[in-house]
Symmetry: C2
Subunit: 163 residues, 2 copies
DNA sequence: TATTGTTATACTCTATAACTATA
DNA sequence: TATAGTTATAGAGTATAACAATA
């Protein structure tokens, strides 16, 4: 088993009234979503940190390790380790930077690209199962509120590294 | 810095239409919420895993390590380590089980109880800031939809350990 | 024989600090 | 002098497996 973050270990959702109860429900939701993300990632032979790297490469193309570190929000040292791991698994390769001989460009391999596509397909299928029978009149306001809360929480937590 | 789980490293939220985009927004929300949880926990000198242990003890009272392991969803070996850490920090203590000489009961110390209360107070204050100016007509449906999604995701991910 | 908790070992993710090669 | 990436070291969380003491 991987991950202590057990929704059942969080307060259970009564018939919500107070702000605190609402926040507890939000926490339980977040933990459950994380489990879901994690399960998909693990099913494709990735860890969360490595999946973040691969996803970043998928979105932005070949990237130096420094750029990866800044985008992902970890130290350069950790990027070395993550790229090492992904290289051993055959998902990425380092190539010399064309103009800066100190740096590498990290590329997705064909295998890496495949895994990215599979993950995306997994989640697309999952999103169908999740949302397809929820009425649009319900989804719109839900997503809108969620975005508001996302923005507020991000502000409250403090600025995150930008991609 | 602690945590690669950077919302900015996830796809940005356009004006939602597709299910996939909705799921991406849900992911971004979950990651942001996790950051928020984590920040509060770290501010009180705890890690996430240890906070889960403390919260469990707070809710259910003195507990054997086996019970903790099952409730939290980690192996007994890890509970040993977590309780060791919490004991070193003075948040919990082991006491002999009254009727089973193999087992310990893990208790919150006064310090542990204090930290639990502080965390709860932190999040209660946070929930005010988050929700207080969101109209009830909006909150009700939001929480309701969120609960539906939580249940579905939990089912899709597979059963979790029960507390 | 089964359960509780431990020691032993290993892997991943995280961090700082010091170092090399290059800019 | 500053930057890109590495090695060195350390701590936390996770896992399996083997073992002691007790049920």
């Amino acid at each position: 088993m991987n991950g202590i973050h057990n929704p059942a270990a969080l307060p259970s959702p009564p018939d919500c009234t107070t702000f605190t109860e609402a926040l507890e429900q939000v926490f339980a939701f977040a933990v459950t979503v994380e489990h879901y993300m994690q399960a998909g990632i693990a099913a494709r032979g990735l860890t969360r940190a490595r999946a973040t790297v691969i996803w970043q490469l998928h979105r932005h193309g070949p990237t130096t390790q420094q750029q990866l570190a800044r985008a992902i929000g970890v130290t350069a040292r950790n990027v070395t380790a993550l790229v090492d791991g992904l290289q051993d698994s055959g998902f990425v390769r380092r190539e010399p930077h064309p103009s800066d001989r100190r740096a590498f460009l990290v590329h997705l391999t064909d295998t890496g690209r495949q895994v990215t596509k599979q993950l995306a397909a997994d989640y697309e299928a999952g999103s169908q199962d999740l949302f397809s029978d929820i009425p649009v009149e319900q989804m719109g306001p839900f997503l809108s509120t969620m975005q508001t809360l996302t923005a507020r929480l991000a502000t409250a937590t403090g600025p995150q590294t930008q991609s």
